[in-house]
């Protein structure tokens, strides 16, 4: 057996060699994939959503055998953008990635996204600009180009529990009232008061931009004007709307889902028939299914002062291409297929948790005939609005505003103080 002499010189040379190897490998970070046929894409989501994305990846690979699309998933939405920022700063961001509506404006104005106009134009485009619902572009579309396309969306609808309403002695059906143009805020508040009087929660809301601003617009108010100025404090209807919102939370007709204790959260309340309304998106199907009898539940749009359908918030996420991608053509192919009617159907069919953002995929929402008034999802998407560009252009502003609103929802701040606090936040940030 030969012995190996391990001299100090060998050791030093070896150490330097290993060091150099490690140093060069550490410097090897790049923007996403490393060849024209390889891309990485990232998103946030639950394991169930991850499974749907993997299904899409498999189908994409079958249609495009020469392209390898690698998925990077981050479980938490709140951590996703922090990670994305560090990746973009260090030049290691994926080629294609999701962006939430509350961060979109920042990424667009920073110029780190590729113009997607070529992706949605031309004879070979899998999806065209005209296929998308115009209201969903939000901060992704500027006069310089289209930098983000909506993946899918979720209009906040009023899920209602027929059993709970009946138990409170309410005989009218909100969905039918809406269809007849009689779904007024007055009727809704009266229903909530009856529910509260019978020991139930009137309505459960999530604390985010769609809740605050949809209530204002439903009451005929204005949040930002067309020039992007925060005009809510100067608009009497908006101020009155915020005051009525504060009152409804104060008299326990409304409850904020975010602060409900563990073990008796919003889903538990709703499926145990202890709440009349639960305002959330298409993912409410999963909540209704938990009850064991999903036919107890249906959906209605936001009530309005007149009772006629109005405009309410539609949450959306966006797909973008990294401006520094080394595979722009491959990334464009991926984005086109991901957002096409076929791609969205693949991702959202069979109880999926969102509403398609393009035409031609309505069957995803209507196909299962559930909920009974599922068409409201599509109607509300067409008439709804995205988070306002001014708010979406400042990272963290939307969540800061929601924190200020939460104090009011919890009865710790008056409507007037809350409007003043929100005004200060927006003025300071914008």
């Amino acid at each position: 057996m030969n012995s190996i002499t391990f001299s100090r010189r060998n050791f030093v040379a070896g150490a330097l060699g290993v060091g150099a190897l490690l140093a060069t490998s550490a410097c090897g970070g790049s923007a996403g994939g490393n060849s024209a046929s390889q891309i990485t894409w990232s998103t946030w989501g639950t394991p169930e959503e991850g499974q749907r994305f993997k299904t899409f990846n498999t189908a994409f690979k079958a249609d495009n055998p020469s392209i390898n699309a690698t998925l990077q998933m981050v479980p938490s939405y709140s951590d996703y953008h922090s990670k994305l920022l560090t990746q973009l700063t260090s030049g290691t961001a994926p080629d294609v990635f999701y962006v939430g509506d509350d961060y979109l404006g920042k990424f667009v104005s920073a110029g780190v996204l590729m113009d997607l106009t070529p992706v949605v134009s031309g004879p070979d485009a899998k999806v065209t600009l005209a296929d998308f619902n115009e209201a969903l572009f939000g901060a992704g579309k500027t006069d310089k180009g289209i930098f983000a396309l909506p993946n899918d969306c979720n209009p906040d609808v009023f899920w209602f529990d027929k059993k709970a309403l009946a138990a409170a002695g309410i005989t009218e059906n909100p969905a039918e009232l809406a269809a007849a143009g009689n779904w007024t805020i007055e009727t809704f508040l009266a229903m909530c008061a009856k529910l509260a009087a019978n020991g139930m929660t009137g309505a459960i809301f999530w604390n985010y931009w769609s809740t605050h601003w949809s209530w204002v617009t439903a009451n005929g108010g204005e949040v930002f004007d067309s020039a992007g100025k925060f005009v809510l404090p100067q608009d009497p209807k908006s101020v009155a709307a915020i005051a009525s919102l504060a009152d409804a939370f104060a008299n326990k007709s409304f409850t904020v889902a975010d602060t409900l204790p563990d073990g008796s959260g919003a889903d538990s309340l709703f499926v145990s028939h202890k709440a009349g309304f639960y305002v959330q998106g298409r993912y409410g199907i999963a909540t209704a299914e938990q009850s064991g009898n999903k036919d107890d539940y249906d959906i209605a749009p936001w009530p309005t002062v007149s009772g006629k359908p109005g405009s309410s918030g539609v949450a959306a996420s966006y797909l973008v291409i990294n401006a520094k991608t080394k595979a722009p053509k491959t990334a464009s192919t991926f984005v086109g297929e991901f957002l096409s009617s076929k791609g969205q159907t693949l991702r959202l069919a069979d109880g999926g948790n969102a509403v398609p953002s393009v035409k031609g995929a309505d069957s995803v929402v209507l196909g299962g005939n559930y909920p009974a008034h599922a068409k409201s999802f599509l109607d509300m998407t067409h008439t709804g609005f995205e988070d306002f560009s001014k708010e979406a252009s400042v990272p963290g502003l939307s969540s800061d505003v929601s924190k200020a609103m939460l104090s009011m929802y919890q009865g710790k701040a008056s409507a007037g103080d809350t409007i003043a606090a929100v005004s200060t936040l927006i003025e300071k940030a914008v």
Partner: protein, 312 residues
């Protein structure tokens, strides 16, 4: 030294010296290679970030676009921000709870273990949380501290009233964070104190016993004063460590707790930098934390002369 001088006067000494100089040169290079991982690590992960942070504290930068110089504006904005001021108060409050309570408990346990047979088993038990990832520890405590968790179950069984909202009631969140912090750092201080107790010269203890000092008297007059350098060291480390609290707050409260009731300075730094993309503001907060830590440590060093006794 004498040998070298003797050699210098003998024939052929120049050659010897040259040989030795060659050795020393090679030794120097080898030494550099051996310490280079530390030097590189220190430069890349400590000195460089510190320098960048110092520069960014005077700039506005979102991580994506060009930075612009703003002078002292970031410091002014931070010191005028009620949320940041709240985070300073929370950080100081956390230190005021976790440092004395944590050290007192550790000392008690160390004294109890000092003469105990089979103390290695106990030490392993106390040290286990120190070895466990703070994320895992926080996740477990998150379940324990739930409104309907085992702690509140026990609370309502014993007292007949519902337990507090440890993580939802602003009055209790900082206390909850303190409990987890104390629990997870207890073992390290126990080990340090135990080593200090066992390092006390037994002849001094024997002399005290012969002079008629009982266990309490020995503890107060001999062991505690002789342990004071160790207590001082642990206090300095514990204060600095409590000023850097982040992970427990991040996992337990998600966003610094209701009404920012558990938001610490380091959480504020993370929030400014990675949630609001304001690295200038985050860096200014870091510099303020550094100054605060230096001031508190300097005060501790000043007090050391009065309260710390060295055996020599």
């Amino acid at each position: 030294m004498t040998a070298v001088l003797a050699k210098a006067g003998t024939p052929g000494a120049g050659l010897e010296e040259r040989k030795e100089a060659g050795w020393r040169k090679r030794d120097r290079w080898s030494g550099l290679v051996f310490v280079s991982p530390q030097l590189i690590g220190m430069s890349v992960f400590v000195l460089l970030p510190f320098a960048v942070g110092l520069v960014l504290a005077f700039a506005q930068w979102d991580g994506l676009t060009e930075l612009s110089w703003v002078g002292l504006a970031n410091f002014q904005a931070q010191l005028a921000d009620p949320v940041f001021l709240r985070s300073i108060l929370n950080t100081l409050g956390l230190a005021m709870i976790t440092v004395p309570v944590g050290l007192a408990l550790s000392l008690l346990i160390a004294v109890a273990l000092d003469r105990l047979r089979g103390r290695t088993g106990y030490l392993l038990l106390y040290f286990a949380p120190v070895m466990t990832s703070s994320i895992a520890v926080s996740l477990v405590w998150q379940q324990i501290l739930r409104a309907d968790g085992p702690l509140n179950e026990a609370f309502s069984t014993v007292f007949g009233i519902p337990g507090p909202g440890w993580l939802s009631d602003p009055r209790f969140v900082l206390l909850a964070v303190s409990i987890v912090t104390i629990w997870s750092s207890l073992g390290l201080n126990v080990i340090i104190f135990l080593a200090g107790l066992q390092g006390i010269n037994p002849t001094i203890l024997e002399a005290a016993r012969v002079d008629g000092a009982g266990p309490l008297r020995t503890m107060l007059a001999i062991r505690l004063p002789l342990l004071s350098p160790v207590v001082f060291f642990s206090t300095v480390v514990a204060v600095i460590s409590s000023f850097q609290t982040f992970d427990v707050v991040f996992i337990l409260t998600k966003d610094g707790g209701p009404e920012n009731s558990a938001r610490t300075i380091v959480y504020q730094i993370y929030d400014e930098g990675f949630k609001h993309f304001q690295f200038g503001m985050a860096s200014a907060a870091s510099i303020i934390l550094l100054i605060l830590t230096l001031v508190v440590t300097a005060v501790q060093l000043g007090l050391q002369r009065r309260f710390v006794h060295y055996e020599s």
